[in-house]
Symmetry: C2
Subunit: 123 residues, 2 copies
């Protein structure tokens, strides 16, 4: 049976019914949270959908792994490091990051930044 | 190497650099377009990301298939049929539709409706 997570519109952060903000720590993470919108809890066998929100001055982990990422920015502005290059992203921009490419997302400006991130379920 | 599709912000429809609106026809489709944001062209082996935009009075195909869908509404308001039930969705709401569940999305109101849709690459 289908599962709906309604967005909760009375919050400063992007939040959804029955979706927890997860611990998301590490030596290269700063002021970022992760929410699993579609994952094991929804019984999704093929792909997972997560939402990462990063506060001003913050960034996601400097990452490199065999699985690929699909990303779309849905809040604020970002700078992304992809391999040895950096570029700015605006709301709505889409990034496909193939496996093994180094990547890291930074919040730009004084408002929160948030992006959806798709990954394979098996990784 | 990563691929970026920047959103084109000078259009009435949601559009991205190097992404075409695709033919999306059928007996049960009306006033809807499909854009493949991440797919075979990006070399994505695990998941695909598409954007469907539906004009007022329009709807997507009445569908039932073995693969699952992840959906997030990013524009306007929708009504979704899931099996034998219907419910309204607002911008930001997330739906996970497991395989074989009947589903169809309708535009609600007088503004366009649009949603991101994730599917497994092999389907």
């Amino acid at each position: 049976m289908a599962i709906i997570h309604r967005m909760l519109r009375d919050r400063p952060q992007f939040d959804w019914e029955d979706v927890l903000a997860r611990a998301y720590d590490g030596p290269t993470v700063h002021l970022a949270t992760r929410r699993i919108l579609i994952g094991p809890h929804e019984g999704a066998p093929n792909f997972h959908l997560r939402y990462f929100e990063v506060q001003p001055g913050g960034y996601t982990t400097l990452d490199q792994h065999p699985h690929d990422h699909g990303v779309i920015l849905i809040r604020g502005r970002a700078r992304v490091r992809l391999a040895d290059a950096e570029t700015e992203l605006a709301c709505g921009d889409v990034v496909y990051i193939p496996g093994n490419e180094i990547h890291q997302f930074f919040c730009v400006g004084d408002a929160p930044m948030g992006f959806l991130c798709i990954v394979p379920a098996r990784r």
